[in-house]
């Protein structure tokens, strides 16, 4: 199964992970890996997720997560893993 990579970047604030994970849980998305750091007050998180059980498509989810990001003042991108595989793996 192809994975989806969700990235969250923005000013650190309370409840970012909660908000994103709630959305994913509500949409039957299974989280397989999370890594998160704070660099100079900026929140950086990458989630590797399996969306095969979700009723929503990757593209729909990308649009909705963008809105979720706007609500909490961070930028959320939701991309099919192949864009990274193609660019960084031969």
């Amino acid at each position: 199964m192809k994975k989806t990579i969700i990235t969250v970047v923005g000013k650190d604030t309370v409840g970012i992970i909660a908000k994103v994970c709630n959305y994913l849980a509500d949409n039957q998305v299974n989280i397989e890996d999370i890594s998160q750091t704070i660099v100079q007050g900026y929140f950086n998180m990458i989630i590797v997720a399996d969306i095969s059980e979700s009723p929503k498509s990757n593209a729909e989810m990308a649009k909705e997560l963008e809105k979720v990001g706007e609500e909490i003042g961070v930028v959320i991108r939701c991309q099919h893993e192949d864009i990274f595989n193609m660019m960084h793996r031969i």
């Binding site: 990579i5 990235t7 890996d33 890594s35 750091t37 950086n44 990458i46 590797v48 498509s57 990757n58 593209a59 729909e60 990308a62 649009k63 930028v75 991108r77 939701c78 991309q79 099919h80 893993e81 192949d82 864009i83 990274f84 595989n85 193609m86 660019m87 960084h88």
Partner: protein, 454 residues
């Protein structure tokens, strides 16, 4: 597993360095639309394009959303219309009706440009070719999205100087016909030597007769990404410089390959080629001229520009070729003036002249592109400029092109605004000495000696 650093790098290229896929171009053969009845030809063309390209824009948008990479343009190229309309069209006006049909079809499916209002006359012109060429001014004036291209020469055939002379006149007439609209018609009209059959970029895209019924070609971009990568190796030697360009070009092209494969799969249309071009836009930080500056020139046009560009172009190809199974089209760095803020600045500062641009076209794709010249430039002078550029292509066995805009009513020092991706351009001076007697000779320039390879 993909790591944090790699994900960040890709996303920074997209969000900060203007990485995008410049165009998905669907090539459609119109050979099966040929008919001796003009109404039937028009109906068949409209039906075929609107059927084949029905999902093009939606598919592009879907891929864009899923992979998070912008796909700026979705476009269509068709079989050169001189071939398709040849049997039905008896006057230039007849050809204009086909241009209008193409425009309607383009609007119906939502593409921003449709290329292929073209004729291939590198050796001679048929009656239909000539009618189509003579219809260009009206066709460009009466349509919004149709692009026209004429192949005037090739390494194998030489240069059709009768057609070169005619195109000088047609370019001026097209400027006149669209003078109320910044002479926009000329921005959609390009002449070629060695025109490729599978170019996805406008204004020169057409679906060559060697192609299948339909094909997906993709043009990648990313001057901003190359520039940002070079900022990190400032002052390093040429080996490091070249390595950096190659690696970056590889990454950019891989994105294009992914998008092309996906578009091909989702639309059920075979994948044709990736065009490895560095295509600038007027946006700040998306400029080929800025790469040249980063390489070490005060401004594009300074001594060293041709060498720097030759190296850049070669490294882009070397990096890109490994990233894609099929590379084609124009594949090289584009150096349009109006579409590149760094080029515009170089012209305004007096660093870049038409003659230097001509030299630059010897080592990169594609040619004298989007250059505004005074509106009172003689048609024969435009033909002379075209002939020079065609000669460079013919002798060097490469594609060259000319897209000049004689801006009616404006002179050197003025500026013309095209808007959008076409940008704006300062009117550049042209050498005023006459070439009329040269251009007025009849016939063609023979193919060069090194074209006889059999």
């Amino acid at each position: 597993m993909i790591n944090l650093f790699e994900v960040k790098e890709t996303n920074e290229m997209i969000t900060k360095e203007n990485l995008d896929v410049r165009t998905i171009t669907l090539g459609i053969s119109l050979m099966d639309c040929i008919d001796s009845n003009l109404d039937k030809v028009n109906r068949k063309i409209y039906d075929k394009i609107t059927t084949m390209a029905r999902n093009l824009v939606a598919t592009g948008e879907e891929i864009e959303a899923e992979y998070g990479v912008p796909i700026v343009n979705k476009r269509i190229s068709v079989t050169p219309i001189a071939l398709v309309g040849g049997s039905a069209c008896k006057t230039p006006e007849d050809f204009v009706t086909i241009a209008e049909t193409l425009d309607r079809a383009a609007k119906e499916v939502g593409v921003n440009f449709l290329g292929g209002y073209s004729a291939l006359v590198s050796k001679g012109m048929t009656k239909a070719d000539e009618l189509l060429i003579r219809s260009i001014p009206q066709a460009m004036a009466r349509t919004e999205r149709v692009c026209s291209s004429i192949n005037l020469g090739s390494t194998k055939t030489g240069i059709n100087m009768d057609a070169v002379k005619l195109m000088g006149e047609i370019i001026k007439a097209t400027a006149e016909a669209t003078r109320e609209n910044s002479c926009m018609g000329c921005a959609k009209l390009v002449v070629f030597c060695n025109a490729p059959d599978d170019n996805p970029f406008m204004a020169g895209a057409f679906h060559g007769v060697t192609e299948a019924d339909a094909i997906i070609n993709v043009g990648v971009s990313g001057p901003g990404v190359v520039k940002c990568a070079l900022e990190k190796v400032r002052g390093a030697d040429f080996e490091v410089l070249c390595e950096t360009i190659k690696k970056t070009a590889f990454k950019i092209t891989r994105v294009g390959q992914l998008v092309a494969q996906e578009a091909s799969r989702r639309m059920g249309v075979p994948f044709g080629i990736i065009d490895l071009s560095l295509a600038p836009t007027p946006a700040i930080g998306d400029s080929v001229a800025e790469i040249l500056e980063e390489i070490g020139l005060e401004s594009a046009g300074a001594p060293g520009t041709t060498a720097a560009l030759a190296m850049l172009n070669d490294q882009v190809k070397k990096g890109g070729v490994m990233a894609s199974s099929y590379v084609g089209g124009l594949s090289g760095a584009f150096i349009p003036v109006s579409e590149d803020q760094g080029m515009i600045d170089a012209v305004n500062e007096g660093a870049l002249t038409l003659e230097k641009l001509e030299a630059m076209t010897c080592v990169c794709s594609v040619g004298l592109d989007m250059i505004a010249i005074p509106g009172d430039t003689k048609a024969s002078t435009i033909s002379g400029i075209i002939a020079d550029e065609m000669a460079i292509g013919m002798v060097n066995q490469k594609t060259t092109a000319v897209r000049l805009i004689p801006v009616i009513g404006k002179g050197v020092g003025d500026t013309v605004e095209f808007g959008g991706l076409l940008g704006y351009a300062p009117v550049m001076p042209v050498n005023g000495f006459s070439c009329e007697a040269f251009v007025n000779r009849k016939g063609r320039i023979p193919a060069p000696i090194h074209s006889f390879k059999n």
